[in-house]
Symmetry: C2
């Protein structure tokens, strides 16, 4: 990591070293409030996904506004949040190695911990180790509701897994994980609507089939920032796992081309500096793909339609400059990352700004927690 | 970061937690030796690019085999290496903020430090601060030799900058930086050859023009893993800045489709685990785009033509599985990253293996050194 910080608390925004990851606290707090309100008014729980922010300070604020807990994708990520005091963590992934299950069970002695399964072998592993350790775990069956990534097939495969969990104390059958990752990034609203309608039907069928066997299915959890209003209003999902809504990114913004239907604001930016302008129409900034992940396309330059971020190499960003624009070396710009999650994962801290000054610096404590 | 390590020294390879970044020490050492030999036999210096590995242990081994020093892309990256004892660092970038120049000059009091310019304003800034601090700096003019990123135009712009540096002690005019980044990833050998032939002509013209004015141009530095044999044999370049050769990645390998002309071996891998196999033809591994950067395309599964890495989401990799292949949950696989530099930047340490065991664990000390 850098031997010095990009900023100190109290610094003027203009003096922040670059590239730095900036959180606009006003926009961020409005995003938190909007999501909390949108779900509480319909009686749907928020279990915020912490893979997006990896930051305990943010998780605590989500919980303070009513979130029941968080999701993580990795056991080591969950460990960071439990250590920071978060008491309810669902690892929205399969865990298949005995050593990693042991780490998960150690966490379950300190907090409420959940995990997913989509294969009987995972249930066996969890049961054996949880029985030996005498530690309970919430276990959800991940159902493939259309994303074709992980997830048991809807039907007998799903029902069988639920039965196995029910008969494997101290494992607790906690419900169905019905996340449709692919739907989050479908460009057209109708596509997203239809995908979640199908996911809802599948979830409902599985829930009803379990009930018919006398297995209550307390929780149907899923959804992300791109589709959560559909899950919220489905009458079937009763928990939402959105994460990116705290920041918003260029890719999610592209799903809302109109000005009226955007519920969340850009709150996350990469502050960057113009370090070279070799020609009138080309400028180079000090933020490349190690500063703003390009897996979902290039960042955009915030509120500067005269500047287009053309391409990124490791440590350089190439901007196309409009003829009427005069840039100076040293000018600072803000980029809206193409994809917030992997961009946050490149930084050790969030520089939190308000009213032109640095109000706080929050460690991204689970950055790089891959295990 | 993860609260635990992926492995301990002495562990069997099979017990390494995943995802983990693996260095095959035998292949790595052969790569180091091949580059050192290839350059020393022609009397061309190696100034290894440390942006690829960000690891002082590797820099020390490169220098032990004859490298004159290293390149870095960021002042904070250079600071990590100077702190680790590296005595000669060229920051292959422009530095335009007074606070960052001050950091650079502080390093120049402890080691030989170089930096690039492509605009007179940068020379002025460096001169004013180096005079005030009474610290010398090597300053190179970056020339645009075809990459159209940073770099002064060949001709009067370049010559003028060199003159300004010469007349600005304690700045030292150290030479011309003529790196053609775009050429490194051209797929066809003829394209690379032609691009570097043009870069060489440009570099030679600038050197000769400076000499005609009585300004000796000690160093013509540039080249990367994709083209360095051309620069080596140019008779004009006398220093090579290759970095990726220590690891090799899928993208560089794609430039060498034949079996005979590959000088370097894959030494860097992401170890990953099969955590789900929902259908016979689809398996999910625990390494997504936060474990192997996809900016240059997907990784490949090492020595497994029966498995194709189709796509990556944040923490999942989706494999297409051949009909004849039987995978088990928990199976470990090795991925060859699409692009080594940003992949290394995702990890805190390199797990170094030889003969089936973990021989060393090297901190990636400059990981995330963005400033």
């Amino acid at each position: 990591m850098s031997p010095w910080h990009a900023a100190q608390i109290g610094d003027a925004v203009e003096s922040i070293d670059t590239p730095a990851l900036i959180l606009d606290l006003d926009a961020f707090e409005r995003n938190l409030k909007r999501m909390a309100d949108a779900l509480s008014e319909k009686g749907v729980r928020l279990r915020a996904h912490a893979k997006s922010h990896k930051c305990p300070e943010i998780a605590k604020r989500q919980i303070a506004l009513g979130a029941v807990g968080i999701c993580c994708q990795k056991v080591s990520e969950a460990a960071v949040f439990v250590e920071a005091g978060i008491q309810d963590v669902l690892v929205t992934n399969q865990v298949v190695s005995p050593s990693k299950v042991a780490k998960l069970l150690a966490l379950a002695q300190r907090a409420r911990i959940g995990v997913l399964v989509d294969h009987p072998q995972q249930v066996t592993l969890l049961r054996e180790q949880s029985q030996k350790a005498q530690v309970a775990l919430d276990v959800y069956v991940e159902v493939n509701v259309g994303a074709n990534r992980c997830g048991a097939s809807p039907g007998e495969d799903t029902l069988k897994l639920a039965r196995e969990i029910v008969s494997s104390p101290p494992l607790r059958f906690a419900g169905l994980h019905c996340y449709h990752g692919g739907a989050q990034h479908m460009r057209l609203p109708e596509e997203r609507l239809q995908a979640i309608a199908q996911a809802t039907r599948t979830a409902q069928e599985m829930r009803d089939a379990l009930l018919a066997e006398g297995i209550p299915c307390e929780r149907i959890t899923g959804a992300g920032t791109g589709t959560f209003l559909h899950e919220r209003d489905s009458g079937v999902f009763n928990e939402v796992q959105a994460g990116s809504y705290v920041f918003m990114d260029r890719d999610y913004r592209d799903n809302h081309p109109g000005p009226d239907d955007l519920m969340f604001e850009h709150a996350l930016f990469v502050r960057t500096t113009v370090m070279s302008q070799p020609t009138a129409d080309r400028a180079i900034v000090d933020a490349g793909l190690k500063a703003s992940s390009v897996d979902s396309g290039m960042p955009v330059v915030w509120q500067r339609p005269d500047l287009k971020f053309l391409k990124a190499s490791d440590e350089h960003g190439v901007l196309q400059v409009s003829p009427s624009t005069k840039l100076q070396l040293g000018d600072a710009l803000l980029l809206v990352p193409g994809h917030c999650d992997p961009t946050v994962n490149l930084y050790d801290e969030l520089v939190c700004v308000r009213n032109g000054h640095v109000e706080a610096i929050w460690p991204i404590s689970a950055r790089g927690a891959l295990l």
